[in-house]
């Protein structure tokens, strides 16, 4: 086994916390049960790692095996990376996509290997229809750098790919090319969507959030679902603006739904606005252009809780990636620069 591979495996195993060690090793399925039983996991971590590396040596671990271990670790620690989303598009009137995972993998690898001699590509299937791809980039003259790989998560027959880049900008077009060719698309564009939470990005892009639909079979009437802020409704106190509060609650509920929101940490959008009458700036012809940034550990939940928390004039606007692509409203050219989020805005406020 190569020195570099041994070092790579050692560093990867060192990253794994002891509590997860056996789970990950079992998922890796490279060391046999007997071999694992010979390891004393109660030792100091360095000794455990040493022993494991020796066992890998016995089994003659290849670079691919090591890469696989890295993928498994990353899958379990996906929130340590920041994920971007790429969107691909096809031409109109294409044939039905008969996606063959084997073909996809070999095509992807070929594109990269033809362009860059020094590149390591590894795959691991996940769930029913997804694949995790790990790419370690090299150059014409240097070997692939195993410590700054790019990960791509692709769900078959969808136009979206989730990537955690951490590489030179020059490699990105090549990655895009490999993805489009292998998945039989024509173009690829980076979306303005980014988060640590891969599952949240997935939920936003595949529209798996807010699955709140009205049916005759819904058992709980809408009024019963409270947002948790209906406390102390003492009947002796008449709440003023009760109607307004109810409206806000209803709008919030319609916009956000009942279930936990996808986890976004930041959002920013460009705004063109005019000041209202009463200030000098109101006479200005040209609208003011601003950039508004939001950040929070859990942005959408925070916005959701703003509404009932007495900010009753929170109005309504939402742009979501889904509605733009469906053509429910024509996206303006710079709307495409919007981070996709939904939150209520004033009705008489700046147009987005």
């Amino acid at each position: 086994m190569d020195e570099t591979i041994a070092e790579f495996i050692k560093r990867t195993i060192l990253k794994i916390p002891m509590t997860e060690m056996t789970t990950i090793l079992k998922a890796w399925d490279f060391l046999s049960e007997n071999q694992l039983q010979t390891v004393n996991f109660r030792q100091r971590k360095e000794s455990v790692v040493q022993h494991l590396v020796e066992l890998c040596e016995e089994n003659n671990a290849s670079l691919n095996d090591a890469a696989l271990l890295d993928i498994i670790y990353t899958q379990l620690h996906r929130h340590r990376k920041i994920w971007d989303v790429f969107q691909m598009s096809k031409g109109p009137g294409e044939d039905v996509d008969l996606f063959d995972m084997k073909q996809f993998k070999s095509s992807f690898k070929k594109v990269l290997q033809r362009a860059l001699k020094n590149v390591t590509v590894s795959f691991r299937d996940a769930e029913e229809n997804a694949v995790w791809i790990r790419i370690a980039w090299g150059t014409q003259y240097t070997k692939p750098n195993q410590y700054r790989p790019t990960y791509v998560v692709y769900y078959s027959q969808t136009p979206y790919a989730f990537t955690s880049l951490s590489t030179l900008k020059s490699n990105i077009p090549l990655l895009g090319q490999a993805l489009t060719i292998a998945s039989k698309h024509h173009e690829i564009v980076k979306m303005d969507l980014r988060s640590r939470y891969l599952d949240s990005l997935k939920a936003i892009v595949f529209k798996q959030y807010n699955q709140n639909f009205e049916t005759h079979n819904s058992t709980t009437p809408l009024q019963e679902r409270s947002l948790g802020l209906h406390v102390n409704m003492d009947s002796r106190i008449i709440h003023e603006n009760a109607m307004e509060k109810e409206r806000v609650q209803r709008v919030t509920q319609e916009t956000f739904g009942d279930h936990p929101q996808p986890q976004l940490e930041f959002a920013q959008y460009k705004l063109e606005t005019k000041f209202r009458n009463g200030s000098i700036l109101a006479e200005r012809e040209e609208p003011l252009r601003c950039l508004i940034k939001f950040s929070s550990p859990h942005l959408l939940e925070a916005l959701k809780s703003l509404a009932p928390a007495a900010l009753s004039r929170i109005p309504k606007l939402f742009c979501s990636s889904g509605s733009c692509s469906q053509g429910t409203h024509a996206p303006k050219s710079w709307q495409k620069d919007l981070y996709h989020l939904y939150f209520p805005l004033l009705p008489d406020s700046p147009r987005c």
């Binding site: 044939d95 996606f99 995972m101 639909f213």
Partner: protein, 300 residues
Amino acid sequence: MEQANTLCHDGKSKGGVLAYLERLETGVNRSGKQREELQSAQAVGNALATKIRKLRCLRDKLRAEVKQRQARVKASTTSVDPDQTVEISEQEVLERKQKNVKAILQAYRFTGLSGKLTSRGVCVCINTAFEGNLLDSYFVDLVIKKPLQIYHHSVPVFIPLEDIAAKYLQTDIQHFLFSLCEYLNAYSGRKYQADQLQSDFAAFLAGPLQRNSLCNLLSFTYKVDPRGQAFPFCARLLYKDLTVTLPTDVTVTYQGTEVLSTSWEEQRAAHEILFCTKPLHQVFASFAKKGETLDMSLFS
């Protein structure tokens, strides 16, 4: 009578007295019989008369009882306000009707396509099914205005909803909904077959089932007899039409270097046809059954 005449004319006592006595005897016998008949008839008559009396008695008793019960019922109903009874029953009737209608609306989902009016328009619910099994449901929330818009939906991203909407949504909404139903039902059916194969017939598979999101390309290696007597075949099922649940192309191959014997070659060809004509899990169920009958023959 002739005898009587001959008696009178002859004047001789040859048949005279005896014949007369005979006549008297038969007469007595006849009247005796008649009396007996009369008596029996009378007896029957008496019996019937008593029966009639009994029945009349019973009838009178029953009549009296009926009258009593009617009186009791009348007594109990007259204690309640007559107007209220009419009202309650109307309300009950309305409630029952409302419950009925609600139940019908809820049950509508079993037709596969149902909807509910919303404040904006209508929320259409597509309940998919395959071979009598109710599978996933999908929703499309429509906003009724010009042009018709999809407000939001739960259709998976790999179903060509945008294409179908572009073709039919504005011009023929019925066509849009039926087309969408077709795609979703077919997808659910294919997914169901693949899931069944993986769960119930895993023993027949010699490797993992390769599938994709739309379940329109399935690739797997299988053995007809899971206990290892059979040759492994590789099957590749393509569903080029997204609205069908049976494959459009099937290739079954043998991944080996030896030449297949004619019987295995026939089996291979037969399997190709089987996969084309029967749903996937049913094909494997038939393999399982054949295996069972083989087992039985071992015992016999």
